[in-house]
Symmetry: C2
Subunit: 174 residues, 2 copies
């Protein structure tokens, strides 16, 4: 194994859903936040259509307003930032969910690599949550928010899960 | 920046869709292939339902049979292996596309980290392609194959794209 594969696999396996943050939402260095967003753009997409948009939130009152309306994302109150992964459904009607999910995973792995923590809180396909965010940000009709990813300094409560299940690996046949 | 974030970001940005392989499908070391599959299991999933299954193919005739029926995956003839990412739609009716896409991205990044090459060739939501694979592997009704990811030794023809588009980054408002 190379050092590169060791590093990448350690981050892939070390990633966990971090829902509790410390340091009261201390700012994430701008260059780190920029790098995390840029990583999202490096995901593959069907026919290279790149149907994604990203709303980066680092304003306290916007983070709180988002938390107010999202029952499963109350950690936004203690988060330092958040990224909403959106899709332009006019650009890729059929595959935007897949493309934006791959982009989301790049975000989560970059966050983990920086020693930060994050969690994918789902909006789509829950209509109420999706609509709340669409209204809050006055999103155009063709823009669907897939998720909100709060990011912050993990307080160490969460550990990664070992989810490997050999019964789900099929070799050359089902 | 730490060495860890440097390594992970270099692999995220270095990943490219590799469609041409060299070395005539030379076998990938088993421990590498195992590690690539295990990385897929480390993805997050909605309510931690883990709706995925993986078919790992390293048998020449199975790779070729798959290539015969998939017009956009002819690189299977020269691939060393392939992974079909499948979903059990009974386990997660609404979010399996997202979960299995995150798992697919873990596969692609692990492959890149090992210096191998791969490409996400879509099955779902194309009915004919999905059906072909369902029949070839006699998949149960509730199992949907999302994609086929051929893996091999890249011949160096493909380079990563810089897809960063500042206009798609929105800060605190749309």
């Amino acid at each position: 194994m190379s050092n590169l594969s060791d590093a990448v696999l350690s981050v892939i396996h070390g990633r966990k859903s971090v829902r509790s943050f410390k340091d009261g939402g201390k700012a994430i260095p701008q260059e780190m936040l920029d790098a995390i967003v840029k990583a999202a753009f490096a995901a593959p997409s069907a026919m290279n259509l790149q149907p994604w948009h990203f709303i980066v939130i680092d304003n306290r009152s916007v983070l709180n307003a988002l938390g107010d309306g999202l029952p499963y994302a109350k950690m936004l109150y203690n988060a330092s930032a958040a990224i909403i992964v959106c899709a332009d459904t006019k650009i890729s009607e059929l595959s935007w969910e897949l493309d934006c999910s791959a982009a989301s995973q790049n975000i989560l792995l970059s966050v983990e690599a920086y020693g930060l923590g994050a969690v994918w809180t789902a909006l789509y396909p829950q209509k109420e949550l999706t609509l709340f965010v669409k209204k809050l940000f006055h999103l155009p009709e063709n823009i669907i928010p897939l998720n909100v990813i709060p990011i912050g300094y993990p307080n160490g409560e969460e550990a990664p899960k070992d989810k490997y299940t050999p019964q789900k690996v099929h070799v050359n046949e089902w």
